[in-house]
Amino acid sequence: MANMTLQKQALLGGYSQRFDNTMMSERTNLSILSLAVPLGAKNTVDTTLNQQHGVSWPDIGKVHRSNTDQSIWLGLQQDQCFALFSDLTDEGFAQVSAQLQAAAYITDQSDSWVCINIDGPLARTALERICPIDLHPTVLGESCVTRTTMEHLAVIIHCTGSNSFELLSPSSSAKSFLHALETSFHNIA
C-alpha cells in the first residue's frame, strides 16, 4: 500500500458570510446517521435511544436534543429519524453507529447533505424568497423540523432558535443551494 492519506474536503470549503446582521455558514463538523425502525420494533428503538443517548424517538416534525451527548434527533417521517452528532471522528461515529445498529437500521448520511446555518434577523426574510413553507414561529418554531424544497432542491429545515435555521440539502448540489441562498440575501438587501 502506498503511503497515502485521504484528505477531507468541505463541500463549500467551510463557507461563512455575514449579510448585514445575519450570519450564514457551512457546518462542517456534522455526522448524520439515519435510523429506521424495524417492523414492530418502535418501543425497542425508543428504549435504546433513551439508554444510549437519553432521548426518546422524535415524532414527525419534532426535534429532540440529547443532554447526554448534545446529539440532535430530527423526526422526519413515521419510521425514520436523523441523528446529528458534532465533532465525531470516523472511529467515534463508527462506534455510535455500531451501538445503534443493534436496535435500528442505520445508514450513514454524513456526506449526503450539506449543512448550512443561518442565524440572524434577516433569516426569515431571505428564506421566504425560496422556501415555500410557512416559517412563522407559530408554525415552524424552535425545535421543529420539516422537509421542503427550495429552488428545486430537497431541503430539511430545522428551526434552531428564534431567528436561526439549520438547512440540510443534498451534497452534490451544495453549490447551487448556496447560490440560491446568497441570491436571496442579495435580493433583500
Binding site: 485521504l6 484528505q7 448520511q109 447533505w113 421566504e128 435580493n187
Partner: protein, 982 residues
C-alpha cells in the same frame, strides 16, 4: 416646462420637482405623480394612436383599467412597451414614448386606416383574405403581422433581474381602499396574520380620489392614521405596489410586487418579485371600475371617465381641462362636477341621460336632464360636443360616467360566475367563490363609502370567525352615505358617428351589430370575432358595455347574456417576473461529482447528464479533436488501467429482515439467495413487463443490500420502491434510504486494475482473484483507515472494480488513485470512453432501455424468474411480447468498415424499400471502436439473435448516412468474459 394644469392641494410632493421626457420633450412633475397625471399637468392630452384605425387617443382613466395611454417606457434594453401611463410612477429621468404610430404622433401616417374603416369592421380578416389561397402566407399574413401590435421590444436581453417568493397569512386582504383598510384594522387588531396588498403606490383606493370624510376626518387623513396603526402591528404586512393577479387552488394567490419600477435604476436589485401567497381566508376589496357610455366619436383625447377626472383633480391636483363637461347616467357623475367646481375649475355643462330632477346644483354649469351626447368634435382633442336636443356645447374635457362595475375578476378565477344586480346595473360576485374568499366593499356592489367601510369591518369579523379566532372589540369606521343611484344607459342610438366601446381594440357598436348579424352571439364568440375585451386591459371598461348591447340585439337580459370567463392575470405580468431568477445558469441546479474539482484541474470537458455535470473526456496537450482524447482513454484503459467517477449512479440502501424478499419482488431475477459479500446484476420491470431499470445490487450483510440504479432513473426507481414498500407490501420489514450522495464511487478498469487498487486498499483486504472474485463486494479501509466499499463489477468488460469512499474524501480519492496508477500509466476517462467501452461490451443502457423494450428484447429474457412472482413478470409473458418476430438486441458492423454508423438509422432487408412497412428495427447506440478500428453499433432488429452474419441495410433518410451493416454479436470485446474474471 410649466405645469399649466396644476391645481392647489393633492397628494404630491411639491417640494421636489422631477423631470421626465415624453417623445423627447422634457417636462416637470412632482413625486407622487403618475406619468398620466404629469402629462395632464403639462397640458398633454394626445398620448397615442389607437390600435387599428390609428385615431388620436388620450388618457381615459386613472388606474390599471387604462385602455389608451400605453407608452414605451425607458430606453435601450430596458425598454418596455404597453406600459400604462396611469399607473407608472414618475421618477427623475423617466423617458417615455408614445407608440403605434408611423411618423410623429401628431401626424401618424397610419391614420389612413381610419379612412378605410368602413371596410375594416369585425370579421374583416376572415371575410377578405380568403382568396387567392396562396396569398395568405405569402402576402396577407406578413402584412397583418407587421401592422399588428402596439409597442415594440428592444430585442435585447432583459437587463433586469426578478425574484419569486412565498408568503403565508391567515387573511389576505386584496386592495387597500376603504373596505380593505377597515378589514385590515379589524383583523390586525384581533391578532390574525394579515397581508394587506394594494397595487397602488399610495394605499387608500378611492379615498385618495375623493373629498369624503371618515369618522369626522378627511378620508385621506383617516387612511394615513390607519396605515400608521397597521404598520405598528407585527402581525400585519402591508404590501404596496403589489397586484394580486390571480386566485388559484387551495387558497393560493399570485402577487406581483413592483420593487424598482418607480426608480430610475434597479441597482442590481430585483425589479419585480412574484409572490405565491398561501392564505386561509382572503377578503377581496378590489373596488370598482367605472364604465363609459357609447356615443358618437366618444374616443377623442379629452373624453375621460368621470371618476378619473375627479381623481386627477383631488389626488394629483391636476385638471384635465380648462372647461369641463360631465355626461352621466348616475348620481356619482355629479360629484365630479361639484368637486371640479370646488377646485375652481369651470364646468360648462352637466348632461344626464335620466329625465329626472338634477340631484344637485353645479355652479355656472348648463344642466340638461334627459339628454344625451350624440357627437364630439376636435381631432386631437375635444373642443365641442353636440346633444340629442341639438344643442352644441364647448368643452375641452368631457367626463363620462356610465356607472360602476365591481371588480369581480378574482371571484371568477376558478370559473365562478358573477350575477347581475339590476338596481345597481352591474355584475356582483356570485356565490361560487374560490375557497376561503370573502368579498367586501365596492367589489361586492357596496358602492358608497359608508357601505364599504362597514362591509370591510364585518367581513373581517366573518373571516376571524371562520378561522376560529376572536374578533377584537372595536367599531366599524363611519362615513356619510353618498348617493350612487344609477339608471342603466349603454349607448346613444341616435348617434350617426361611430360609437366606441373598446378603446384598446377599436371595437364599436357597429362591430357588435356585425357580430350579431354574422351569428357570433355568445359572449365568448363575440370576444373572438370582434376582439372586444382582449389585450392589456382585458376589457375592464368595455366588456359590460359590449355585452349589454349584444343583449339588446338578442332580446336577452344581460344576466342571460353573461360574461366571458375571467382568467388570471388580472393585470399584465411580465414574462421576466414569471421566470424569476431561473434564467441562464440559474435555470436549474447543478450537481457536481465528488471529483469535480480534480477533473477541472485536469482540464476535463464536462457534459450535462440530467442535473449532473460529468467529465466527458480529459483532453491532453496536442489533441485537437474529442475523438483523439476518447480513443486514447479507451485504449489506455483496455491496455493498462483507467479510472472513472461513477458516483452519479443511484445508490439505495435496502435494509430489513425482509430485504431479500422485497428485492425478489421488485427485481425480475432472484436476490434472496444472493450470498453475503456478493453482487448480482438485477433487472427491474414495470407492471406492464417493460424494462424499467437495471443495475447491480450487493449484499453487504444478512439484512443489508446496496442497490445501484442508472443515473437517469435514480429518483424514479427510489420513488417506485418506496411506493412498493409503503403501499403494496407494508407488512414487509424493509427500510429504504438513498445513499447516492453519500458515496464517491470510482470505476477502476483494465488489466492493471487490481495492481493499482492494491496500492490504495489497506492490506487487510485480499484482492486476489481467489479471495475477491468477479462479483464480490466488501466493506474495506483505504489509504490507511478511511472507510470504504469495494465491488468487483465491470461495465467495460475489463478486470474492473468500483471503489467507494465517503463523498468528503472523493476528490482526494481520485487524486490518490491517479497517483497510485502513475506507474501503470493509468488514465482518467470520461463518459464518452465509458460509453464506447459499454457498447464494445454490448451492455444495454439508456438508449436501449427506452420504456418500450422488454427483457426479451435486450437479450435477458431468461433472467425473468418463473420460480417467484415479481412486478412485471406475468405481464412480460403476454403473447404480443413474445412473438417470433420480436426485436433482439444485437451488434452491427458496417460492411464497408470506413463508414460511420448512425444511431437512429432504421433497418430494412437488403434491397427492400426503406418504408414503414419494411422497417425491421433501429440502431440504438453507435461508437467508433478504437479497439476494432471501425464504427460499431447496437440496435434492435426482428429475430436478430437468429440472423448473425446477415447483411441488412441501415437506412437514414434524414441525414443521408445509409449503409449496409452486418448483424453480429453485441459483445464486440471479450465475448467469453475472460478479462473481467481474470
Amino acid at each position: 416646462m410649466t405645469q399649466t394644469n396644476r391645481l392647489e392641494g393633492g397628494q404630491i410632493n411639491r417640494q421636489k420637482i422631477v423631470q421626465f421626457a415624453f417623445n423627447d420633450q422634457m417636462y416637470n412633475a412632482h413625486p407622487g405623480d403618475t406619468l398620466a397625471s404629469a402629462l395632464l399637468a403639462n397640458g398633454i392630452k394626445h398620448v397615442g394612436s389607437s390600435f387599428k384605425y390609428h385615431r388620436p387617443r388620450g388618457i381615459f382613466s386613472a388606474g390599471p383599467e387604462e385602455p389608451n395611454a400605453l407608452v414605451e417606457l425607458r430606453r435601450g434594453a430596458a425598454q418596455e412597451p404597453n406600459t400604462r401611463a396611469t399607473v407608472a410612477e414618475v421618477f427623475d429621468g423617466m423617458m417615455a414614448r408614445s407608440q403605434n404610430h408611423k411618423g410623429p404622433l401628431g401626424f401618424d401616417l397610419m391614420g389612413v386606416n381610419d379612412l378605410l374603416s368602413p371596410f375594416l369592421s369585425a370579421g374583416f380578416y376572415y371575410k377578405t383574405f380568403m382568396w387567392p389561397k396562396a396569398f395568405w402566407e405569402k402576402l396577407y399574413e406578413p402584412i397583418i403581422r407587421a401592422s399588428a401590435g402596439l409597442g415594440s421590444l428592444s430585442g435585447l436581453p432583459d437587463p433586469d433581474t426578478y425574484d419569486k417568493g412565498f408568503l403565508h397569512a391567515d387573511i389576505l386582504i386584496i386592495g387597500a381602499g376603504p373596505a380593505g383598510i377597515a378589514a385590515a384594522l379589524q383583523a390586525g387588531r384581533s391578532g390574525a396574520r394579515v397581508i394587506l396588498a394594494d397595487e397602488d403606490f399610495t394605499p387608500g383606493g378611492r379615498l385618495n380620489a375623493e373629498n369624503l370624510s371618515v369618522d369626522g376626518s378627511q378620508g385621506t387623513d383617516w387612511v394615513k392614521a390607519s396605515l400608521a396603526e397597521l404598520s405598528q402591528l407585527d402581525n400585519v404586512r402591508i404590501m404596496t405596489r403589489t397586484t394580486i393577479y390571480g386566485a388559484y387552488d387551495h387558497g393560493i394567490y399570485g402577487a406581483l410586487e413592483r420593487k424598482t419600477d418607480h426608480l430610475a435604476k434597479s441597482e442590481g436589485m430585483p425589479r419585480q418579485v412574484l409572490w405565491r401567497i398561501y392564505t386561509k381566508q382572503a377578503i377581496l376589496c378590489a373596488g370598482a371600475t367605472e364604465r363609459s357610455i357609447a356615443f358618437g366619436n366618444n374616443d377623442r383625447p379629452g373624453i375621460m371617465l368621470a371618476g378619473a377626472v375627479r381623481a386627477y383633480v383631488n389626488r394629483w391636483a391636476v385638471t384635465p381641462g380648462k372647461r369641463i363637461a360631465v355626461f352621466t347616467n348616475n348620481d356619482d357623475g355629479w360629484r365630479t362636477a361639484t368637486d371640479l367646481v370646488a377646485k375652481g375649475v369651470e364646468v360648462s355643462a352637466v348632461i344626464d341621460s335620466r329625465a329626472t330632477k338634477a340631484p344637485t346644483d353645479v355652479a355656472g354649469a348648463i344642466v340638461v336632464m334627459g339628454a344625451t351626447v350624440t357627437n364630439t368634435f376636435g381631432r386631437k382633442g375635444i373642443h365641442t360636443f353636440s346633444l340629442s336636443n341639438g344643442q352644441s356645447i364647448k368643452a375641452d374635457c368631457l367626463a363620462v360616467s356610465g356607472g360602476w362595475n365591481p371588480n369581480v375578476h378574482l371571484t371568477c378565477h376558478q370559473r365562478g360566475r358573477p350575477v347581475w344586480n339590476e338596481t345597481q346595473a352591474c355584475f356582483v360576485p356570485g356565490g361560487d367563490l374560490p375557497m376561503g374568499m370573502l368579498v367586501a366593499g365596492a367589489a361586492n356592489g357596496e358602492l358608497s363609502l359608508g357601505q364599504a367601510l362597514s362591509a370591510g369591518y364585518a367581513t373581517a369579523n366573518t373571516a376571524m370567525q371562520n378561522l376560529g379566532l376572536s374578533a377584537a372589540a372595536s367599531n366599524a369606521p363611519n362615513a356619510d352615505e353618498e348617493s350612487t343611484k344609477v339608471t342603466a344607459f349603454w349607448h346613444v342610438k341616435e348617434s350617426a358617428k361611430r360609437c366606441w366601446i373598446d378603446l384598446q381594440n377599436d371595437v364599436t357598436t357597429k362591430d357588435i351589430n356585425v357580430s350579431y348579424q354574422d351569428g357570433f352571439r355568445a359572449v365568448e364568440h363575440l370576444k373572438r370575432y370582434t376582439t372586444l375585451g382582449m389585450a392589456t386591459d382585458q376589457g375592464k371598461t368595455s366588456n359590460v358595455l359590449g355585452l349589454a348591447i349584444m343583449a339588446e340585439h338578442s332580446g336577452k337580459t344581460i344576466e342571460q347574456t353573461g360574461t366571458t370567463i375571467f382568467r388570471p392575470p388580472y393585470t399584465p405580468v411580465p414574462i421576466g417576473a414569471l421566470a424569476g431568477r431561473c434564467r441562464g445558469e440559474d435555470f436549474r441546479p447543478v450537481r457536481h461529482t465528488p471529483s469535480h474539482g480534480w477533473a477541472e484541474q485536469q482540464g476535463a470537458v464536462f457534459v450535462e447528464t440530467g442535473n449532473w455535470l460529468r467529465a466527458q473526456w480529459f483532453p491532453q496537450p496536442g489533441e485537437t479533436h474529442w475523438r483523439e482524447s476518447v480513443d486514447r482513454e479507451v485504449i489506455q484503459t483496455r491496455e493498462s488501467v483507467g479510472v472513472c467517477d461513477v458516483s452519479t449512479l443511484g445508490k439505495i440502501d435496502v435494509q430489513g429482515k425482509d430485504a431479500g424478499e422485497f428485492l425478489n419482488r421488485v427485481y425480475a431475477n432472484t436476490f434472496a439467495t444472493l450470498a453475503v459479500g456478493k453482487v448480482r446484476y438485477g433487472l427491474m420491470l414495470r407492471e406492464d413487463g417493460i424494462v424499467m431499470d437495471d443495475g447491480t445490487t450487493a449484499r453487504m450483510s444478512e439484512n443489508h443490500y446496496v442497490m445501484t440504479t442508472t443515473t437517469a432513473n435514480a429518483v424514479s426507481v427510489f420513488r417506485h420502491m418506496e411506493f412498493c414498500r409503503q403501499c403494496l407490501w407494508p407488512g414487509l420489514d424493509v427500510q429504504l434510504i438513498s445513499a447516492t450522495e453519500q458515496w464517491a464511487q470510482f470505476a477502476v478498469a483494465g488489466p492493471n486494475a487490481r495492481k493499482l487498487l492494491q496500492k490504495v486498499v489497506d492490506a487487510d483486504t485480499d484482492l486476489s482473484n481467489e479471495a475477491f472474485p468477479f462479483m464480490a463486494c466488501s466493506e474495506i479501509k483505504v489509504c490507511g483507515g478511511t472507510p470504504g466499499r469495494l465491488f468487483r463489477i465491470s461495465f467495460s468488460g475489463e478486470l474492473a472494480y468500483e471503489i467507494a469512499v465517503p463523498t468528503r474524501y472523493g476528490n482526494s480519492m481520485m487524486a490518490a488513485l491517479m497517483e497510485a496508477g502513475e506507474e501503470f500509466n493509468a488514465v482518467p476517462y470520461g463518459t464518452e470512453a465509458l460509453g464506447v467501452m459499454r457498447i464494445e461490451k454490448g451492455h444495454a443502457a439508456g438508449n436501449e432501455l427506452v420504456g418500450q423494450t422488454s427483457a426479451l428484447n435486450i437479450g435477458l429474457g431468461k433472467m425473468v424468474s418463473k420460480k417467484k412472482d415479481s412486478i412485471g413478470s406475468k405481464m412480460s409473458e403476454r403473447e404480443g411480447m413474445n412473438t417470433e418476430n420480436a426485436l433482439n438486441l444485437v451488434g452491427f458492423k458496417p460492411v464497408n468498415r470506413d463508414k460511420p454508423l448512425l444511431a437512429g438509422a432504421h433497418f430494412v432487408s437488403k434491397g427492400a424499400e426503406p418504408t414503414m412497412e419494411n422497417d425491421e428495427g433501429w440502431m440504438t447506440s453507435v461508437a467508433y471502436s478504437p479497439s476494432l478500428g471501425h464504427s460499431i453499433g447496437l440496435g434492435f432488429i426482428q429475430r436478430g439473435a437468429d440472423r448473425m452474419g446477415e447483411v441488412v441495410h441501415a437506412s437514414d433518410q434524414l441525414r443521408g448516412g445509409s449503409c449496409d451493416v452486418e448483424i453480429v454479436s453485441p459483445h464486440f470485446i471479450d465475448p467469453e468474459g475472460e478479462r473481467l474474471r481474470g
